[in-house]
């Protein structure tokens, strides 16, 4: 034995003796601590507050953009947990894991607590003064404001500030968003975000829309899905078919999973329309002409989906009406992404689903508070402007482009060219680190605001087509740190620098919001005779304000003229594999990566925790000599990352997948250095119509680095004998499974 070895047995001995020591020296004492602690009573207390019994306050979740209505469980002045608001048509009393982690955003130890000017803590007066100084003598067009998705009264105030600055340079950016789908939907249905009725459909064919995991409004869709799967439903139990190159949570729940060749989703949709035509569905002449060449046989060759399956899918859709066809991330992220989405939407038209399972959604009657949705094309515009030196002062709120822009865009280099960069931030993330001035934000559980969701779910009922809603966000507890401020408060203070007279009546954002809501009492469901205070209290306590929305309509016809499906881009012999950046239900675009619950909750499919991974099909891995846990280098033309290999049959053999959101260089202790940032190696290839970054158009090669780790995951060894339980009898070993042939 080596001199310094202190082995396990010795350690246990010491532990044993140590325990005795504790027992001997501790025994005989009562641990009752009279007079040691202070029990602070309240000064005043509303009668509904009883110490040790929780109260629930309605608010709105801020973890993603779905805008679920939540209730915060508050006890002794501290928010402990969030629950879904049962009266919400969006989440109907339920919540997801991402939403549950909201309390960790609030209590996060890495929150910024003071304004930071060039890294030095300063007072708010100094911080706001610095902004005022820098804005003096700068023209409106030299100011740019980058935000994430926005809505409600903060947005109204924000619009006023941009007007006061005389700037039109508002760039709304979301790293992961259905931006291509919005444009395609507008063409196909006449509205960007219709209501999808999964609960009414008898069969759902989803082209890469992970609606149970991370797509648009997952909690709403998961509820609909539960209805859809009920055998007691008049329509009977629904059938789900998922078409995607990389299996998502929704794919794992599907009755049939079709592992399609990346980028050929639109072609498959046309093949199915062709097969439907052959099966006797009457196609409009232009559509029939458009799909004439897409015979199942030809489509089968191009997509890698056997033509019998295409025919089977067509039969399924024909027999089970109404159906619903969805286009999601996996179909959009290509150069021909919007054509893919259009071709898929055409299926809904052919099948007569439009108006049945694709319903018109209403929009809020006040355009100032209607949601502004983000896209990546606006980031391109900002980036070009920054590169050209057009902007002197740049603000950033609710976006982290330094992290989520591909390295090839050189966003950081361009961002630092601006004279003065201001980041509104809760954490010192990558963008805040690159900024000159960082303004610490309140958490969503400390702040006031209103939220209008982009995906407008409606309650059952006859007036569903005019249903729109605004949700309240209210502080669930007092601020944890005295020197953080709400985004509305900051905007108001900045507005007062420009238009002191106009805003002098508003002491803070609360008074602005209070005033704005009471001024529109009637439109918000009150009567002119209602007492202001009672109306305000009731509105807040409900948390949801139903509005008489502007009814939309979905267009029943779609012309095939817009459809010019270009062939999917080929592969590169040097980079033979297609990289699919995966959006996981908990990590999303990485904005919440510093919440340890999200890092700790296993990915639903791979069960990996606290790290990123490279999903490889076992056959491809065998060809490359890669085993599970090998650290592999994933290299594209634009860069490379290293991560652990995870062999997974639920992926097309020509594709590899790495989850996004990991690999932060800042943000905080739970996010920094965990995993690798796959955004950084994406090639700057853009969707041809919308200019969105084509997320799935990066080709990569994979090489072993020679290192290997044991993957931290929950599943047992192959075929599984875990905890000494008997081996489960397996019919097919996991590495031999071809999921595309199952079912």
């Amino acid at each position: 034995m080596k001199e310094n070895d202190f082995n396990r047995r010795d350690f246990l001995k010491v532990l044993g003796w140590g325990g005795t020591a504790v027992a001997l020296s501790g025994c005989g004492n009562t641990s009752i601590q009279d007079g040691q602690e202070i029990v602070t009573s309240y000064v005043t207390l509303p009668s509904y507050v009883i110490p040790s019994i929780a109260n629930y306050f309605n608010s709105t979740c801020a973890q993603c953009d779905a805008g679920c209505n939540i209730m915060g469980r508050v006890r002794e002045g501290r928010v402990l947990k969030a629950e879904g608001n049962p009266n919400s048509p969006i989440n109907r009393g339920k919540m997801c894991g991402l939403g549950q982690s909201g309390v960790q955003a609030h209590y996060n130890p890495d929150r910024i607590r003071q304004p930071l000017l060039k890294g030095q803590a300063v007072t708010w007066e100094a911080a706001l003064g610095a902004i005022n100084d820098k804005l003096n003598g700068v023209k409106g067009e030299q100011v740019a404001f980058l935000t994430g998705g926005m809505s409600g009264h903060v947005q109204a105030l924000f619009g006023n500030y941009m007007d006061a600055l005389g700037s039109k340079n508002h760039f709304s950016y979301e790293a992961i968003s259905p931006a291509v789908l919005r444009v395609a939907n507008k063409k196909a249905y006449g509205m960007a975000m219709p209501r999808y009725r999964i609960d009414k459909a008898r069969v759902v064919v989803s082209f890469g829309a992970d609606f149970l995991g991370a797509w648009v409004s997952p909690v709403n869709f998961a509820q609909q899905y539960a209805q859809f799967r009920k055998g007691t439903r008049p329509e009977g139990r629904g059938v789900l078919v998922q078409v995607e190159p990389k299996m998502t949570l929704t794919g794992a729940n599907a009755d049939s999973w079709i592992g399609i060749r990346p980028g050929t989703e639109g072609m498959l949709a046309l093949g199915v329309i062709n097969a439907l035509g052959s099966a006797g569905i009457k196609l409009p002449a232009d559509i029939a002409a458009a799909v004439k060449d897409y015979t199942p046989e030809r489509v089968g060759v191009n997509t890698g989906v056997p033509f019998e399956r295409i025919n089977k899918l067509a039969t399924l859709l024909k027999e089970r009406s109404p159906s619903l066809v969805l286009a999601g991330d996996a179909a959009e992220g290509y150069v021909n992404g919007s054509q893919n989405a259009l071709a898929i939407a055409m299926l809904n038209h052919v099948l007569g689903n439009v108006g049945k399972t694709v319903e018109a959604a209403a929009s809020v009657p006040f355009p100032q508070i209607a949601p502004t949705v983000g896209s990546r094309s606006s980031l391109n515009k900002l980036n070009d402007g920054l590169a050209a030196g057009k902007y002197k002062v740049v603000f950033s709120y609710g976006a982290n482009p330094v992290f989520s822009a591909p390295a090839a865009m050189k966003f950081k280099d361009n961002f630092v060219k601006a004279d003065f960069k201001v980041a509104f931030a809760q954490y010192l993330d990558e963008t805040a680190q690159a900024a000159d001035l960082v303004l610490p934000l309140d958490s969503a559980m400390e702040d006031w605001g209103t939220v209008v969701p982009e995906y407008m779910a409606a309650p059952e009922g006859s007036d569903a087509d005019t249903y729109a809603q605004m949700s309240f966000r209210q502080p669930l507890m007092q601020k944890l740190y005295p020197d953080t401020r709400g985004v509305g408060d900051i905007l108001l203070a900045l507005l007062k620098q420009r238009k002191a007279d106009e805003y002098k009546d508003f002491e803070d954002f609360y008074s602005y919001l209070h005033n704005a809501v009471l001024k529109n009492k009637v439109a918000l469901g009150g009567k002119t005779t209602d007492d202001d205070d009672i109306f305000w209290d009731e509105t807040l306590s409900k948390g949801i304000v139903p509005l008489k929305g502007v009814a939309g309509s979905v267009s029943a016809k779609m012309s095939a003229a817009d459809l010019k499906l270009s062939p999917a881009t080929g592969t590169d012999t040097n980079y033979p594999l297609r990289l699919i950046p995966a959006v996981s239900a908990s990590m999303r675009d990485g904005r919440n990566a510093n919440e340890p619950w999200l890092q700790e909750s296993p990915d639903p499919l791979t069960t990996v925790v606290w790290d990123s991974w490279v999903e490889i099909h076992p056959k491809t891995a065998a060809k490359l000599g890669i085993a599970e846990g090998d650290i592999v280098e994933v290299a594209s033309k634009s860069g490379s990352i290293k991560s652990q290999a995870y062999l997974f049959p639920g992926i097309h053999p020509d594709a590899v997948s790495v989850p996004v959101g990991y690999g932060h260089e800042g943000m905080g202790r739970y996010a920094k250095g965990v995993g690798a940032n796959v955004f950084s190696i994406l090639d700057p290839v853009f969707e041809q119509e919308t200019g969105e970054l084509a997320l799935n158009e990066t080709n990569v090669k994979i090489s072993k680095t020679g290192q290997r780790v044991i993957i931290v995951k929950e599943e047992g060894p192959l075929g599984g004998s875990q905890d000494g339980r008997p081996k489960i009898a397996v019919q097919v070993q996991a590495d031999k499974v071809d999921l595309s042939k199952e079912v």
């Binding site: 501790g26 009562t30 202070i38 029990v39 602070t40 009573s41």
Partner: protein, 201 residues
């Protein structure tokens, strides 16, 4: 040899460390008569004045007038300052007493009073006031001073409260093992729960 020496040093260190921690953190032992230590409070609150019998100059206020949460919650609750002021703003006769002046100072500054906790069980014990009050006060219809007094002693004779009972597990269990009538109108009896998880959860 060196190996054993190292182990030995580690052990001695552990004993010393744990011992000194225990000595530091240990509260003063319960006195032989089961009394807790005298505790100095920010305001010397006269319980006997408020809850004491009329013949002793007390006002016979029900304990739960101020500790109002005892029957509805795990904790009895220290009344909010508002509650004290609610009465005292109209009791002119004692307004100039130093204790009342101090009370109003807290009220005017809107500051809570930092009371010291007298009956402080360890964090791994969950004692529920509501269950005990419901059982003995409402179901068995015993006088409130007796019911509260099981654990808190004869508070109506104290100024600031002082712990009267050991509040140890053995002491709790000694009562839980006894049979108590189910209600005032029943001859049936039952004892308190003796499951570990009732208090340690």
């Amino acid at each position: 040899m060196q190996h054993i020496l190292r182990l030995f040093i580690l052990l001695v260190g552990l004993f010393a460390g744990v011992g000194s921690y225990a000595a530091d953190a240990a509260p003063k032992l319960t006195t032989p008569d089961d009394l807790g230590p005298q505790i100095e409070q920010p305001i010397e609150f006269p319980h006997f004045r408020h809850a004491g019998d009329a013949k002793d100059g007390g006002m016979q206020i029900n304990c739960m007038y101020c500790h109002t949460y005892a029957r509805r919650s795990m904790v009895a609750g220290i009344p909010p300052v508002q509650k004290c002021i609610g009465c005292h703003q109209s009791i002119e006769s004692v307004r100039d007493k130093p204790r009342i002046k101090k009370l109003f100072e807290y009220w005017e500054a809107k500051k809570p009073i930092p009371w010291k906790k007298v009956h402080d069980l360890p964090d791994f014990v969950r004692f529920n006031h509501e269950r005990h009050i419901q059982r003995f006060y409402f179901q068995q219809d015993r006088p409130y001073q007796e019911v509260c007094g099981y654990c808190h002693g004869d508070v109506k004779k104290m100024t600031v409260a002082r712990r009267q009972k050991p509040l140890t597990m053995g002491w709790c269990a000694s009562c839980h093992m006894k049979d108590h009538p189910i209600s005032a109108h029943s001859t049936k009896t039952g004892h308190g729960p003796n499951d570990c998880f009732t208090c340690h959860k």
